[in-house]
Symmetry: D2
Subunit: 382 residues, 4 copies
């Protein structure tokens, strides 16, 4: 049941926090707070467990894990004592991190990625490797005719120019190597017809997109509340102030627009209409890994009475995302084991922009997750 | 299908807002925003409809409905134009309002109440009358041995002293008169073993307690969110600032304690543990019918990272409660029609302190409500 | 002492609210809440009084005052009863409203404006007319060499092309007609060297810019607090959600940038450094004349401890601005009477972007205002 | 110019944070953020400097300073690296901490306190020792006839029963020993006629009461803003959620009432009337040294328009108080040096409940402080 978690962006805050956390939980140094699969309702239902995960990954930077861990401790994301306690284990993981391959054609690059995945699986004797994208958000890529079919895609990848954005190329390589793929970012990932075709051909599942860790999580319970009470939401406006690497990236207009749209989608789909208002993302370097979101909801009740609600969410994105990385790796591995292939729409609970036609209300997403878990019972493997 | 809505506290803000609203909706002057049974998901599923309701009731005060309507318009709770438009219809209802009967023994008082109900049913040719308590919150009554069984209760009611608090005496009279009973307040209402016995004996349903209109409504979606994400809530503190008649009443320590406890119950039952913190209720006469609640939630994520959430809710209690009065009258009448008796635990969606052992999470309560409605289909009557 | 208040944008929300208010205060129908000169500390210190003001003005629209008053009542900005009570008086003012003149050259347009001002002064036998700009915010105009000197300006105005933006052309006309000028908007107004020259030549005072009515008002007391306590502000971010005509206008990127910059200026000038963060302005039509601003301040205390403050301001811009229009007309008229000319830097208390090198802290601005008033004592006129 | 800072409650969070901070600033390890006398406007104006302070004190507990420092680092109040860096210096201070003396009569206890002060002054060759109370808030003491005059007080202190609460007995001992006294708590301290008499007799100044570190600080700038703009505050309600030792203490109803009253005083005195609403203090152990306050202000503008403002303050009480302890010790020492005696009403800037009839507006208090500092110029000593 030993399962590989191959992280794209393996030296980033989310990845390193999830490694430190998994190591610390395994060593009994801390509890699994924030891990959905370790909540009282779901504990011991899904294998692999946290202790079964083996970490590796790609990253464009080369900052040592130990240094990154120290930075996270400095920033208040992980306790300094924990970061020190798992230092030795991080050094072991360090050996399984690789630079992002770059070759003359995207086909060759994908082959190099797949080779890294194969070696990782082989060297650690892993049952399965799940590729998880936690790298920075990409700009929305231009459309390309080769995205439409697998045949066209394979042909185009052999050419000199870029056909796929990096996240999609990684998904391609993962599928080629027999690995399920999870995209925790708003990037393209596996969301292209050609890649869906490949995943089905190989019988592999994939999950995404864009982890739901803060403001959107709250929206996904408040919006159904307004809908069920038949209260008319007039305006819903939000602002997200965030620092950290992804903050700078998201404040860039292209990425910002993609993210903001994904953040408002939950409203239209849950309420049945789109209230006035937008979600803004502003970069404030000084906030570091912490994020503050403020939302104002104005709504109308019986006889048109005007009412309002505000909320402020002050969270640490890495701390909120990291345990979900462990959950998603485990769930996707378990789904692959039971033969699921194609988009795992029943993992919408974890995502701002879930795959497939699915409810955006958290409660229904939770039920879908519980139903999925019922089908993943460990004994299924035998 | 004409159904009586007999309101206890019929000249209060909630009652008069619900009357004005029902009349205005019926006349096509406004929409049914805030009425759960008129939301897209549930529309046309439950009979009686809003147009089938006939209003009457008891009140200790004698302020004319027309005057109360003008006050509500002045206070911004109902539009002045609507209040004027339904003036004639309110004058008709006025004829069916009675002072609260008072007799030498509680048995005699109950008989007088029942006589009022009987006359109301007869004069209007109603299929059924639902008694709904929207009067001021009572202090918690002292226990009395006669509360335990119906036999003991009947005997005690013939004596000179008070045995039941007013809300419970009303429930007794309602059941004696064959009427279902709904308690929208935190008062005792039907929640005594002797009354449960009586309701079953007569085959009558009842619902309650304590309408969920604001801060607790929000808690009932946020608390499950924290639980499902396995985030550890450390503290949850709230303050409710409210004016209006009920504000003054709730700021009285006895009533306050009852209400505040009912407001925190949702946390312990949904999270599985009780976080630190209390809910305060403070009376600010100047706020009138509007209420502002502020809640601070501090919680712990992965590796113990400290995070927090705040929300402010600025609502109009009468405008939030009034449409639910219409919903509850309709649902309870429909349940009675299909032969339901005893506590309607499937109406927990509407209450802060629901009857029976039932989930406090709004999503599960919503499902229970939808399931109930499936059994109430109008054709069932034939 | 009868003084004209000639409003540019005389049919807009701010102008009409100030007219209704002045009429209602004069008639004893309401108190002067929000009028700084009527606060206990300053009452009866400055003449003209509210009762001495006579209203007239220009507007590009032709919506009747009575209709605008009804809209303001509908929107909750003025009480409906007040709007009705002053209907007759508004009809009188209506006769003194003129369309904005338009002529082949800006010189001719200015002459037409001045002619309107002269006629108004003459017909009502006014001691003095103060021109007050409360029209919509203009985009930042392109620089023009003729802005530098009065001679160049006069020459250029005779040409066919536009030289001055409307607000500056109005200031020019006001000065030519012997009228002091107040700019309550962020537009250019009198802030050009050529116009400063003209004002001095004619011995006329002027005041501005950009009325301080909400978020910036709060900033102007909080920023000095942080400075005096030597707490280091790390970030200060704000979002302004507003509807109304000016909302749509300010959401337009050009105007937005001007306004947002003026909103952050108070920070750098009061703190002595510019913290990270921006002020956003978002248009939400549904909010109407009301505005909600949210600000987050993160700051550092002793030994670097991270702390934070948030505030939400929910105000009605017209109701906040209108009484200040009365104050500024009175103060500027009184200053003119005592022979003040040039920029009234001692009126910084009222403005987001005050004229001259002056403190942005409200407390110092208040002292400057009190000092000014000491020199304006009514007896000075004799 | 070496000056003693004798802290009552010397092992508490505020005291130890001020020691660590003074040592770290002196060693150049950190800057003086939060020290008012080190702000750009006041730097180098007052001697003694931070580096001239020598610490000692009394405490009822015996937790070693080093251990307390570690706890403060753990709680996020001081950086762990700083706490470690000053460990040696704390050990030196440790030698000058004494248990609180206890003797059969209060006269004898006071003599023992004075003896400790004398020895501290002598052993360190100090110019002057300032006694600063930072111990827990006392309940309001019962009145006693001996509080009225010094003669009566001296006689009563020789008796067996308690005459003075601990804070007042300390003030008595301080004055007897020739030491100025500062009370940073809401306790009685020097605020008794007999003690005022003694201070004047000995020519000693004193300062207090109740350090203004959070919500009240904000009120002291917002309330003048509303007053100056002639906006009518209708309600002002606050809730303070705090942990820490003082939290538990203040949640005790007696102390709570005293503190809450002192917190609302600023409103009545600044606005000229008391708006509806109260300030609540709730203890939440889990918050530790951090405190969250939320305030809602509803106010009325022109023509009665209803508006509102909310703020949340999330501060670390120890980090906010500690630098003010350094400021107050320096200022009181400098005032004593220039011959000031009696209540230092010009230090109102620092206190929630300032001595004397003085403005509660922060801006006026700031000016009073600056004026005081002008009289304390270091050269005055010669």
């Amino acid at each position: 049941m030993r399962t590989g978690a191959w992280l794209i962006g393996a030296r980033g805050s989310v990845a390193v926090t999830s490694m430190i956390g998994a190591l610390a939980v395994r060593a009994g140094l801390t509890g699994p707070t924030g891990c959905v699969l370790e909540s009282p309702a779901l504990r011991d239902r899904v294998r692999p467990g946290i202790g079964d995960l083996v970490f590796g990954g790609h990253d464009v930077t080369s900052v040592p894990l130990e240094k990154k861990a120290a930075q996270l401790a400095e920033a208040g994301v992980v306790p300094a004592a924990l970061a020190r306690a798992v230092q030795g284990d991080l050094a072991v993981i360090e050996r399984d991190l690789r630079p992002v391959p770059a070759a003359p054609t995207q086909a060759a690059t994908a082959a190099a990625v797949a080779a890294d995945l194969d070696r990782f699986r082989r060297e650690h004797g892993l049952d399965r490797v799940v590729v998880v994208n936690v790298s920075s958000t990409e700009p929305v890529p231009p459309p390309h005719p080769a995205h439409a079919t697998l045949t066209a895609l394979r042909a185009a990848l052999d050419g000199p120019g870029p056909v796929l954005p990096p996240s999609a190329l990684t998904a391609f390589a993962a599928f080629e190597s027999g690995c399920p793929y999870v995209d925790f970012t708003p990037s393209t990932g596996a969301r292209l017809p050609a890649l869906a075709e490949l995943a089905l051909q190989r019988g592999l599942p994939y999950a995404g997109n864009d982890g739901k860790t803060g403001e959107t999580l709250v929206k996904s319970v408040l919006a159904p509340m307004f809908a069920q009470r038949n209260l008319r939401v007039r305006t819903w406006s939000g602002v997200n102030l965030l620092g950290g690497g992804d903050g700078a990236n998201l404040a860039e207009p292209g990425a910002n627009a993609a993210k903001a749209a994904s953040k408002q989608r939950v409203l239209a789909e849950t309420l049945g209409y789109a209230p006035q208002g937008d979600t803004r993302i502003d970069y404030l370097e000084d906030l570091g890994d912490f994020k503050t979101a403020w939302d104002l909801v104005t709504f109308e009740g019986f006889l048109g009475t005007a009412m309002r609600m505000e909320f402020t969410w002050h969270g640490c994105d890495s701390a909120l995302a990291a345990p979900l990385i462990l959950d998603l790796t485990r769930l996707t591995a378990a789904a692959a084991r039971t033969g699921r292939s194609g988009p795992l729409t029943d993992l919408a609970f974890f995502f701002k922009d879930p795959l497939g036609e699915t409810s955006h209300g958290l409660a229904e997403q939770w039920r879908a997750l519980c139903d999925l878990i019922d089908t993943l019972a460990p004994q299924a493997e035998g």
